[in-house]
Amino acid sequence: MSAIEIAAVSKVYAGGVRAVSDVSLSIADGEFIVLVGPSGCGKSTLLRMIAGLETITSGTVAIGGRVVNEVDPAARNIAMVFQNYALYPHMSVYDNLAYGLRNRGVPKADIDARVAEAARMLEIAPFLDRKPRQLSGGQRQRVAMGRAIVRKPDAFLFDEPLSNLDAKLRVSMRGEIRQLQRRLGVTSVYVTHDQLEAMTLADRIVVLNGGRIEQVGRPLDVYHSPASTFVASFIGSPAMNLADAEVAGGAVAIGGQVVASGVGGIADGKLTVGLRAEDILPTPNGAGVPFAVRYIEELGATRLVHGSVEGRHLTMALSPDLPLADEIRITVAADRLHFFDGESGRRVGR
């Protein structure tokens, strides 16, 4: 168990493609970090550089205080869980778990004990003699986890480990991974494109976009104060509503209508205003602005209402108890608005 220090790391592929640009990140001992971002944002590349499967173009990666840029993957004492599990198909579950230990010359009795412990923890003890193809997806996933656990590594690296599972299994495995990581206290780096996985698993989320870090923070901090329009639209479901606005003298106006005034610390000019679906409230008696309902997504506990205000698309979350008409009137609390620079998309103001 140890901290991971990533300092100014970049990756440029032979063809000149820049996958990761100047990423710096300190991961504390025992912390669960989730790298999240859309396809091609460099999150897997970053993980593979920590693992040693990808060379580092510039910058340094240190695990437990030791710079590992030139260290072989096996000597970094990390364990990795792959998206397609990467179990050795011709070996039994036991041999899959034991293979790495045998290669390191761990004594036979010790291997037995470690495999038995991991199998008990993951409830795969009955399958130790089976081949991977005789197991279900969830069981294979457990075996892949087991292979990581028996190594007693300094860090777990997860590369989208749940994306091959069905939705229900994904939720339960997510909980198990979280509990297991808490119990073992092993530093973990987890790559996913699923913002929900990121929110539920992480101690800290790292949002990546185009090979750069957009924001690092605790899940709720990222949710409640996204650092850019990219983060705002990526984290949270449904995505945050964004609208172009102008600011003059502290008054923010969307299409000429002032939605907030007395806002400090923002220079006059173009602005992007963000608003979470749940922060839009219906108003009872003719107050607020008219909202034309276009279609509704029923989620059971809540309902997502898509529609428009003066031609601008807007999504709001409503309680299913409320009656719904073709047009309702809505309002927003000015203190729930997020402001982003109109040019750069970076957060401004509060």
């Binding site: 040693g52 096996a74 792959f82 050795y88 011709h90 293979y99 290669n103």
Partner: protein, 282 residues
């Protein structure tokens, strides 16, 4: 067939039976011939029922050979053919699986060139390069030896290509998992790739064994002493007699004996062979 009609089934069976008869009948005639005396096949009427000379024919060929046409006893020739077929099969598999491994898993300068060089040799079978190859083998003093019989036939683009295609289907993550598990290149090859290639190796072995066993032209070129003759050469020498009629009964005895080892290999490895050709196990 998606629809199952009784008459379609019958037609399928009829076609298959016709095919089997077409292939099997000459083999049957060869076997019948090997059980008759020397003159029965010269009478103008081909017998279709077993004769009485079977034991005598087989014993004579296995112990004495056919001295009149310079053929040694079959035992030695069968042994030579077996050695040749086995060395070629194992040699081809060993070399091609290693070169495929190098081409697929290692990045080195001129990798693509190396692959295409191997690929191009597909167009140069032994028959095309036989004169230069003979010159090389003769200069190396390899005439009349197992090395001379086998080495020029061992390099195999087909097998390399087959293994390459198989290795490309093995997920990269498997290699990465092995790297993290502390397996170096050779360990990964031995512990993961080789066991996964098991069925492919078996299928190739069957094909290559028969290829090696059936070699005719090359052994004819490089062997001059009867102690290195192969069985396929022997058959040709026996049927090719001057100023006399070929003794078809003993020629056919030899043919039947020469057929047995490939049959044993095919039957013995049939299950793996079929698996290796149809299965893409992951």
């Amino acid at each position: 067939m998606i629809d199952r009609h009784p008459w379609l089934d019958a037609l399928a069976h009829a076609v298959l039976i016709a095919g089997v008869v077409l292939v099997a009948f000459p083999v049957y005639v060869a076997f019948i011939a090997s059980t008759h005396g020397p003159h029965d096949f010269m009478s103008g009427l081909v017998p279709l029922l077993p004769g009485s000379e079977m034991v005598a024919n087989y014993r004579a060929m296995l112990t004495d050979g056919l001295s009149s046409s310079g053929a040694p006893p079959l035992g030695g020739m069968l042994w030579n053919s077996l050695m040749m077929a086995l060395i070629i099969a194992f040699g081809k598999i060993a070399i091609s699986i290693l070169s495929a491994y190098a081409i697929v898993y290692f990045r080195f300068p001129f990798r693509a060139v190396a692959f295409w060089m191997i690929f191009v040799t597909l167009m140069l079978p032994v028959e095309v390069r036989i004169v230069p190859t003979f010159k090389v083998v003769a200069d190396l003093g390899l005439l009349d030896s197992y090395a001379g019989l086998t080495v020029p036939l061992i390099a195999s683009a087909t097998a390399t290509f087959l293994f390459r295609q198989f290795f490309l289907t093995v997920p990269d993550e498997l290699m990465e998992a092995a790297r993290i598990d502390g397996a170096g290149p050779l360990k990964f090859f031995r512990d993961v790739l080789l066991p996964l290639s098991r069925t492919n190796i078996a299928a190739l072995f069957v094909i290559l064994f028969i290829y090696g066993w059936n070699q005719y032209l090359w052994p004819l070129m490089v062997t001059t002493t009867s102690s290195h003759y192969t069985i396929v050469m022997g058959i040709k020498r026996m049927s090719d007699v001057a100023d006399a009629l070929p003794q078809w009964n003993v020629v056919m005895t030899t043919v039947v004996l020469a057929m047995l080892p490939p049959v044993v290999v095919v039957v013995g490895m049939q299950r793996l062979f079929v698996k290796g050709l149809i299965e893409t196990e992951k």
